[in-house]
C-alpha cells in the first residue's frame, strides 16, 4: 500500500512540475539577491585584513626616526635571499641607534611573501604591508629601494580591513593606479 502511495505521490509531483518549480525558485532567489562581485578596479577595491602579507614597508617611530637598525636578521632569515642590507654608522639621530641601513633593498620578483623577515625583525621595523598591486611593465621596478619602503603605508595599521572600499581607477600613461577611499567602505557578504 505504502509503495503504491509513494508511486502515486511521485506521479502527481511529476505532473505538476514540483521539482521544476523548486529549481526555478532557487534560481529566482539568486537572480533577485545582490551580486557578490567586487567591481575592481573601476569602482571598488578590496582592503585586506591586517594579517595580509603584501609589499614590504619600513616603519618609523612616531618622532620620525627609522626603526631599522640594519641587524641583517631579515636578510639571514630570508629563504630566497632577496633582501640586501648594508649597514653604516650614523649618529645624527636618523635611526633609533647608531647603526642604520645604508642600503635596504628587496627584490620582489624573488620574494615569496612568507613573512619570515617580519618575524625575525627585533625592532618591528619591517612590516609586510597591504599593497598588493605589484604588477609592472619592466623588471627595474621590481627592486624596491629603501626610500620607497620608508614611505608611510597606504593603508594604516589602525584600519582592520576585510572590507571593500570605493575606489578610483587612474590611468596616467603607463602607470595605472587604483586609489581607494578608505572612508567609504562596505562589508563583504560571503
Amino acid at each position: 500500500m505504502s509503495r503504491t502511495g509513494e508511486k502515486i505521490k511521485n506521479f502527481i509531483k511529476k505532473t505538476v512540475f514540483v521539482d521544476f518549480i523548486k529549481g526555478l525558485h532557487v534560481t529566482l532567489g539568486y537572480n533577485l539577491s545582490k551580486s557578490i562581485t567586487i567591481r575592481y578596479p573601476d569602482e571598488e577595491k578590496w582592503i585586506p585584513y591586517r594579517r595580509f602579507r603584501g609589499r614590504h614597508t619600513l616603519n618609523r617611530t612616531p618622532e620620525g626616526r627609522e626603526l631599522c637598525v640594519a641587524c641583517e636578521l631579515c636578510a639571514k632569515s630570508c629563504p630566497t635571499n632577496c633582501i640586501t642590507v648594508i649597514p653604516m654608522e650614523d649618529d645624527t639621530g636618523r635611526g633609533i641607534a647608531d647603526r642604520v641601513a645604508k642600503v635596504w633593498k628587496v627584490d620582489l620578483v624573488r620574494c615569496l611573501f612568507c613573512g619570515y623577515c617580519e618575524d625575525a625583525c627585533p625592532t618591528r621595523a619591517l612590516r609586510l604591508g597591504r599593497d598588493y598591486e605589484l604588477a609592472c611593465t619592466d623588471l627595474a621596478c621590481t627592486g624596491m629601494e629603501m626610500q620607497e619602503l620608508l614611505m608611510p603605508q597606504s593603508i594604516p595599521e589602525t584600519i582592520s580591513g576585510g572590507v571593500v572600499a570605493k575606489a578610483r581607477f587612474i590611468r596616467d600613461g603607463e602607470k595605472l593606479t587604483v586609489e581607494a577611499d578608505l572612508g567609504k567602505t562596505r562589508k563583504m557578504r560571503w
Binding site: F17, G23, V26, Y30, N31, S33, S35, T37, R39
Partner: protein, 351 residues
C-alpha cells in the same frame, strides 16, 4: 492617373515590412545583453558591466568584433551550402513575422488612416507559422553537413531529429486553440480571447494549461534551448552545427536563434494568453496611452516569456538524447492526442 489610395496602401505595406525587419535585425542587441545579465545575476555575478552604463553597449562591441573577424570557410567544406546555410536559417525566422499580429488597429496621426498592426491577415495563419518555423531546420542541417566536420554533422543530425519529433507535439498542442476559436486566422484567435483573462485559452480548464505546457516544452525543444539544446551540447559536440562557423556567418545563426525565441514567445502569447487583450477591461483609459494600450500589453507578455526562457536556461541541466526522444514521442504526443479528444467532447457537449 495613379490611384492615390492604392499608392498609400503600398507605401504603408512597405513601411510596415521595413519596420518589422529593422526591429528583428535589432532584436539580438538587447536580447544578448539581457541574456548575459540574467545569466550573471542568477550566478550572483553582475554580467557585462564595463562597456557603457551597466554594459548596455557590450552587444555593439561584440557586433563590431564579429564583423571584423576572419570569415573562415573550411578547406574541404561544401562551399556553396556552407555559405547559404546561415541565410537558410535566418530567412524562415523572419518570414514567420509576416503573419503575426502585434495589435489590432492604429490610427496614423495627420493622415487619419487606420493601419493594421500586422503585415498580412492570412486565413491559414497558424498553418503558415508552423510550416515556416519548421523550415528553419534546413539551415541547421545544411550547416552541419556542409562543414565537413563530425561534430557539426552530428549536431545537425540531432537537431533534425529533435525538431521533427517536437514539430508534431507543437502542432498538436495548437489544435485545441484552433478548436476554441474555430479559425486558423491568428487575428481571430486573438479576438476570440477578448474580454478578460478568464476568456484566454490558458484558462480553459482543465485542458488549457495542458496545451500550454506541451506547447512550451515543444517550443523550447524547437528553438534548441536548454533543457533541449542537444544540438549545441558543448560537452559532446563542442558546439554542434555551428562549430566551423565564425564571424558574420556565426552571428547570423545567433540572430536566427534569438528571433526564433522571440517568435515562440509571441506565439505563446497569441495562442494562450490573449495577444493584445488586457487581462481585465478597465472602464477608463486615458487618451494618451490608448494608441499604445494593446501593444503595451502584448509586449509586456512577450517580455515575460523571453525572461522565462532565459530563466529556465540557467536553471535546468540538459536532457540526454534518448530521454529527449522518450519525452517527445512517448509522453507529449499521447497527452496531446488525449487533450484533443477531451477538448472535442468539451466543445460539443459543454460550451
Amino acid at each position: 492617373m495613379l490611384d492615390v489610395s492604392l499608392l498609400l496602401t503600398v507605401i504603408i505595406m512597405v513601411v510596415k515590412v521595413g519596420v518589422v525587419a529593422m526591429i528583428l535585425f535589432g532584436l539580438p542587441i538587447p536580447l544578448t545583453w539581457l541574456e548575459r545579465k540574467v545569466a550573471g545575476h542568477i550566478q550572483a555575478r553582475l554580467g557585462p558591466y564595463r562597456v557603457g552604463p551597466h554594459g548596455v553597449l557590450q552587444p555593439i562591441a561584440d557586433m563590431i568584433k564579429l564583423l571584423f573577424k576572419e570569415d573562415i570557410v573550411p578547406d574541404k567544406a561544401d562551399k556553396f551550402l556552407f555559405k547559404i546555410a546561415p541565410l537558410l536559417a535566418m530567412v524562415p525566422a523572419f518570414m514567420v513575422f509576416v503573419a503575426i499580429p502585434i495589435g489590432d488597429k492604429w490610427t496614423v496621426p495627420y493622415i487619419n488612416k487606420d493601419v493594421t498592426l500586422y503585415i498580412s491577415n492570412m486565413n491559414v495563419g497558424v498553418l503558415y507559422v508552423l510550416a515556416i518555423a519548421g523550415l528553419g531546420i534546413y539551415g541547421v542541417i545544411f550547416g552541419g553537413w556542409a562543414s565537413n566536420s563530425k561534430y557539426a554533422l552530428l549536431g545537425g543530425l540531432r537537431s533534425a531529429a529533435q525538431m521533427i519529433s517536437y514539430e508534431v507535439a507543437l502542432s498538436f498542442s495548437v489544435i485545441g486553440v484552433v478548436m476554441m476559436s474555430n479559425s486558423l486566422n491568428l487575428v481571430e484567435i486573438v479576438t476570440s480571447q477578448g474580454g478578460g483573462f478568464w476568456n484566454w485559452n490558458f484558462f480553459y480548464l482543465p485542458v488549457g494549461p495542458v496545451w500550454f505546457f506541451i506547447f512550451m516544452i515543444a517550443a523550447s525543444a524547437e528553438i534548441n534551448r536548454i533543457p533541449f539544446d542537444l544540438t549545441e551540447d558543448e560537452g559532446t559536440l563542442s558546439s554542434g552545427f555551428h562549430t566551423e562557423y565564425s564571424g558574420m556567418r556565426f552571428s547570423l545563426f545567433m540572430l536566427s536563434e534569438y528571433v526564433a525565441m522571440v517568435t515562440v514567445s509571441v506565439l505563446a502569447v497569441v495562442f494562450f494568453l490573449g495577444g493584445w487583450n488586457p487581462p481585465v477591461d478597465l472602464p477608463f483609459i486615458p487618451d494618451i496611452v490608448l494608441p499604445f494600450y494593446g501593444i503595451g500589453w502584448f509586449l509586456a507578455k512577450v517580455v515575460v516569456f523571453i525572461y522565462l526562457f532565459m530563466w529556465i536556461r540557467f536553471t535546468l541541466p540538459r536532457y540526454r538524447y534518448d530521454q529527449l526522444m522518450t519525452i517527445g514521442w512517448k509522453i507529449l504526443i499521447p497527452i496531446c492526442l488525449g487533450t484533443i479528444l477531451v477538448t472535442g467532447f468539451m466543445r460539443i457537449y459543454l460550451f
